[in-house]
């Protein structure tokens, strides 16, 4: 068995919001481990607290209890710049209007390494080109970012995260807005990247069937608990029928997807 190195870990932390003295817990007893070179999916119904968990794991907000460890160090003890060299993100929100070309957008990922003016050294340019090659979009380098398709833009944003050269990449619902073909191609790319580069990738998604087929591990958030395991073991635990409490759908293990109850 190969040695497993944990990049990020959280041991039974509580997540939620603090508003003055008022504390709103979203989930308790959450344990997450992200291993080097693994692709992990985060699934759960809308409003269950996926975003809160992602925000906590990426150090944007502090856990109510416990701590998130990144490379063996508490994530909140990193300076902004040091954290930017360990962790990069890909968001769903639309980009503000700008004239950025695909290359320029990807190159912004080099910011944690460039000088105060952000001037690119040779190494930065090489890394940017390398990142674009990894997502196979180097032919679009000179296009403006608004001239390419949604699927391509999502890949460019991943290239930007790759250029940031971090051991961990966190993606917030990268497959939203894409059709099935592009969803598959994107997840395959993520899988490939973890294998080739040894990076650890965590992404949230609503595409349970795809996530089960392509991820090394899946974190399932239900209203009762948060469970992380391999897809095969999660199937055995019959966890997916606890995802949605509504009786109108059920998970069909033979088909590997949700089926709508007639009537």
């Amino acid at each position: 068995m190969k040695e497993e190195v944990t990049i990020l870990s959280a041991n039974s932390i509580s997540i939620g919001y603090r508003n003055g003295k008022e504390v709103t817990a979203v989930a308790n007893n959450v344990s997450v481990q992200l291993k080097k070179g693994s692709l992990t999916a985060l699934i759960g119904a809308n409003g269950i607290g996926k975003s809160t968990l992602l925000r906590t794991l990426t150090g944007i907000q502090k856990p109510l209890q416990g701590e998130v460890m990144l490379n063996g160090k508490n994530i909140s003890s990193y300076s902004a710049k040091a954290l930017a060299q360990k962790l990069s993100i890909v968001l769903t929100e639309a980009l503000p209007p700008s004239n950025l070309s695909v290359f320029e957008l990807t190159a912004l990922g080099r910011q944690p390494y460039t000088n105060w003016l952000g001037i690119m050294a040779e190494e930065d340019i090489a890394k940017t080109n390398e990142a674009l090659q990894m997502v196979q979009l180097e032919h679009l380098a000179d296009k403006k970012h608004y001239e390419i398709s949604d699927g391509q833009l999502q890949k460019v944003l991943i290239a930007r995260a790759l250029a940031q050269d971090t051991p961990l990449i966190v993606l917030d619902e990268p497959t939203t807005h894409l059709d099935l073909l592009h969803k598959v191609s994107l997840l395959k790319l993520l899988k490939q990247l973890t294998e080739k580069t040894g990076k650890s990738i965590l992404y949230s998604t609503h595409d349970l069937d795809l996530a089960l087929q392509l991820s090394d591990e899946v974190i399932v958030m239900t209203s009762e608990d948060v469970i992380q395991n391999t897809p095969a073991l999660l199937r055995e635990m019959d966890i997916f029928n606890r995802l949605f409490t509504d009786k109108s759908i059920y998970f069909d293990y033979a088909k590997g997807g949700f089926i709508i109850n007639p009537g």
């Binding site: 990426t58 944007i60 902004a80 710049k81 040091a82 954290l83 930017a84 060299q85 962790l87 990069s88 993100i89 968001l91 929100e93 980009l95 503000p96 209007p97 700008s98 004239n99 950025l100 320029e104 957008l105 912004l108 990922g109 910011q111 944690p112 460039t114 105060w116 003016l117 952000g118 001037i119 403006k144 608004y146 001239e147 930007r160 940031q164």
Partner: protein, 337 residues
């Protein structure tokens, strides 16, 4: 690079042209000779250039640079192509500051009054006014992500300011009122060399502060969350950007009055000409284009060959207002804006 060369050449040419044109046309050679210290063909020409046109041309260059750069900073900070010192109400805020000083000076104790009525006091009040409005706009922008809402807030500040100014006029003397009215019409001329020195220092500080934010500004092209994830200290960067903007817009408005639309239109001209969003390029491009555009506008206000002078605001609005409408129409097709 070629474009930068062309712009620099255009700037120098327009600067000399600006000195040469006016109600009295002074030949190009005499302008150059005066500037190089050789003296012009007529003593009056030399007097006109050194005491009237040169200060005005320098003011145009400084004001053009300051307003345009503050527009660029705001467009990136607010992720809003329609932001600018005039549209967002910064000029109104500066006006309010100046109005309090000029019209409200009667309420102040004598010792403080002297300071506030000096150029320094006007500049300080003006910068403070734009700084406060900027903070208010920022607070609103944090709650409303909507582009148009922010602009409407800017408009409201404009109305609010004119209302307060209206109230103040009731309590002020005719002389104070006249002074304020002339200021509010906007004018690049009538600055003493001492005033120009103050303006130059303020603009330099603002420009240098802005230069330290070039990298964060580029990161902000992807939005606040990405910028933070790339190691940018967003809080500090935003503070410096706001400070630089207030200094630039406030000092220019204090001396030249509220000059409309330059801050909004020029960054777009620079973005269009250079086809980039990289702020290292846009920084210089905006500074150069700002100076050029305001020099051209100033030449137009002189209506060369005639004795008439138009208010600078009228000319910049005629150029700028259509730009805003054009930008709004362009926003519809998602692309570059």
């Amino acid at each position: 690079m070629i474009l930068f060369g062309v712009l620099t050449a255009a700037l120098v040419l327009l600067f000399v042209l600006n000195l040469s044109l006016g109600s009295v046309n002074i030949p190009f050679n005499d302008v150059v000779n005066t500037l190089s210290g050789k003296g012009a063909g007529k003593a009056t020409w030399e007097f006109i250039i050194l005491n009237y046109r040169l200060p005005k041309a320098i003011t145009a260059v400084l004001a053009g640079m300051g307003l345009s750069l503050s527009g660029l900073l705001m467009q990136t900070l607010f992720r809003n192509p329609l932001a600018g010192p005039y549209v967002l109400g910064l000029s109104s805020g500066a006006s309010l500051g100046v109005a309090f000083v000029i019209l409200g000076a009667g309420f102040l104790p004598i010792i403080v009054k002297d300071f506030f009525l000096s150029s320094y006091g006007t500049v300080a009040a003006s910068m403070l006014g734009s700084f406060l409005v900027l903070l208010a706009v920022l607070a609103v922008a944090a709650r409303l992500r909507d582009t148009m809402a922010i602009l409407i807030v800017g408009l409201m500040f404009g109305s609010f300011t004119s209302a307060i100014v209206g109230v103040l006029t009731y309590f002020s003397t005719a002389q104070q009122l006249q002074k304020f009215t002339f200021w509010a019409m906007g004018s690049l001329g009538s600055l003493s060399w001492e005033n120009i020195a103050i303006l130059a220092v303020a603009c330099t500080i603002g420009i240098l502060l802005a230069a330290t934010c070039i990298k964060p500004l580029n990161a902000l092209l992807l939005g606040e969350r990405y910028a933070k994830s790339m190691g940018i200290n967003f809080g500090r960067a935003r503070f410096i950007i706001i400070l630089a903007t207030s200094i630039l817009a406030g000092s220019v408005t204090a001396f030249a009055g509220p000059v409309a639309f330059i801050g909004l239109a020029v960054p777009h001209m620079a973005k269009l000409a250079f086809r980039t969003s990289n702020h290292i390029v846009l920084f210089w491009a905006t500074l150069l284009s700002g100076a050029i555009v305001l020099l051209v506008c100033d030449i137009v206000t002189q209506l060369p060959g005639s004795d008439l002078t138009l208010p600078i605001n009228a000319v910049t609005s005629i150029v700028g207002a259509p730009v805003v409408i054009w930008l709004l129409l362009r926003k519809r097709n998602k692309s570059y804006s």
